[in-house]
Symmetry: C2
Amino acid sequence: MNNFTFYNPTKILFGKETISNLSSLVPSNKKVIIIYGGGSIKSNGVYEQVINNLKNHDVVEFAGIESNPTLQTCMKAVDVIKSNNVSFILAVGGGSVIDAVKFIAAAAVNNYDDPWQSIVIENNFNNAMEYGSVLTLPATGSEMNCSAVISNSELGEKMAFSNSSVYPKFSILDPSTTFSLPSSQVANGVVDAYVHVLEQYLTTDINTPVQDRWAEGLLLTLIDQGRYVIDNPNDYEGRANLMWAATSALNGYIGVGVDQDWSTHMIGHEITAAYGVDHARSLAIVLPGLLSIQRKQKEKKLLQYAKRVWGVTQGDKNVIIDEVITRTTLFFQSVGISSRFVDYDINPEEAAEKIGNIFIERGQLFGENRDISGELVKKILLNRQCLY
Amino acid sequence: MNNFTFYNPTKILFGKETISNLSSLVPSNKKVIIIYGGGSIKSNGVYEQVINNLKNHDVVEFAGIESNPTLQTCMKAVDVIKSNNVSFILAVGGGSVIDAVKFIAAAAVNNYDDPWQSIVIENNFNNAMEYGSVLTLPATGSEMNCSAVISNSELGEKMAFSNSSVYPKFSILDPSTTFSLPSSQVANGVVDAYVHVLEQYLTTDINTPVQDRWAEGLLLTLIDQGRYVIDNPNDYEGRANLMWAATSALNGYIGVGVDQDWSTHMIGHEITAAYGVDHARSLAIVLPGLLSIQRKQKEKKLLQYAKRVWGVTQGDKNVIIDEVITRTTLFFQSVGISSRFVDYDINPEEAAEKIGNIFIERGQLFGENRDISGELVKKILLNRQCLY
């Protein structure tokens, strides 16, 4: 096991009717801004619950955070915060809203000439405005971590930052708020969470049985419950199990002391930036080829994954690895997410060339062994041997 | 899944040479008291490492915390804190030392006429002195939770309390510090952690797949690594995996949203109080009879435990349950811990009568269904059908 530091001070309130705790969780002496996205919280009743529970608080609002939140939108929210003397933020929504609020919380209390440079690039801050969240979409884990992905629409860049001063003070997870999600968004969340686990699990085997078993437990749960929720959208238990699995996939716990990959995310971010493909779908496109090309480096873990998650043990190791990559791809398909470029109207050769060149230009090497180059990205995106 | 609140702000520093972080973790402007036990930290080099890393801090010491820490000893430490204007505590040791420090931290900043009544019985406090810990014995999980068990030698009582103001600010877990532990203490830690998991897992099945899988992952790890460490005491990886499994068994994570039992601990505490049996060994005595008697209430989880942890699936369900209780008992034996009263020179009939009567006198009902009475305790302690 590698040495590690673990710290996660977010308080989670999980379950039915937990939004009613808002009135006591949000400090009564602070002016509050409620930040949300495109308005789905108004049609599903969450907005009304939040407002009712903050009726004795002094509240302003900021709506319109996008799916891939931009610096430009975030800075508009910062202006509202400063001109209204706001001192507490409440994020209401999914990972995009909570990611945006992490940036906003940092920018609101630090006066930077260039917030993008200072917060995202240099990560040069150690304080932020306090905030809490009400989660409405299980997927990114942002509700219980200190990471965010922000896009800069002027530069055409999409980048992540992590900073321990932007953990939510609390997050409310009421699975009932997810009943009205369209199945395409549920599927995105399932695949996003599944790949979060794999990024921390399918790496070098360095003897970490607790972390391995916990990762496998989340994968098995996402497989069972992901399909179940899509077939039974109004079942509270399924929604609850899916929500808790997605949070647990990226709150730091399964990633302590292990080697981590994250190359599927790095390549996927560029596909989203170039073609507008949903985040989770970009991951589904990248993953099969990545696992196939990196099978040598990931061999022990791929065989363990095959055995413990999919029960695949028969045959030569390359046969097993092909089989388990196919099973993973078919699982994504079973919730409605394709791993084929053509299903997103993208020409594979053109995309491989374009995305690969981005990393070649940057001279960037990544993955758990820092052995994935732009040239290899092209091979990964053209490797289709495990797809059907 | 039940509704739950989860909050755990302890920072964990895990790995080789992590004690060197002490100088920056302990606030330099505070007077520090180092609290420890019987002096094993002086023979294994931990004391020297701690002192060297705090050489620029103003430090006093308090030694002599017992295995089952008493109110009386804790209050002596409080006197030293008050007379020296100490404002930060460093616990160095195992669960007993850290448990004691939780009580001491609460008593040091709250002026109670009767600290036992206010802290342990009424749990009537919401602040405590800041403290950190250096863990030297993986077992109780106290290094990453807010619970403690304290004994009152005058009243002859041993009681637990939990309060969110007594989470350690940080805990340093360097597996190297455990190389010198005698195998009997390693075995105690393995069985203690194993039973911590079972108390949160072998209850009513209320559809909690993440929590179940994580509990099973810890059990499988404790089985593999527990035996391995006893056979290979100088292997760092084994020590590391065992340490992280024991911490993860009782930091709150696997217990969210599930029904919890804790009757093995309640009965075990009384056996320890009456006969001086080590805590873990008292649990090993109670558990087989408890599982056998409560098999109806715990049936679904016992069968799941049999299948997923022990691979036992053949036969009638009572045969399976008997088999898995026996396997559990034999596992405890394999690390050197007997489940038979006679191996501790205790007469079973006499003990069953004595311990059962304690609960009858209190009129107490406990277990996840509040259906375990003093009369049932007698039956549990006399049920020996799964023992060999």
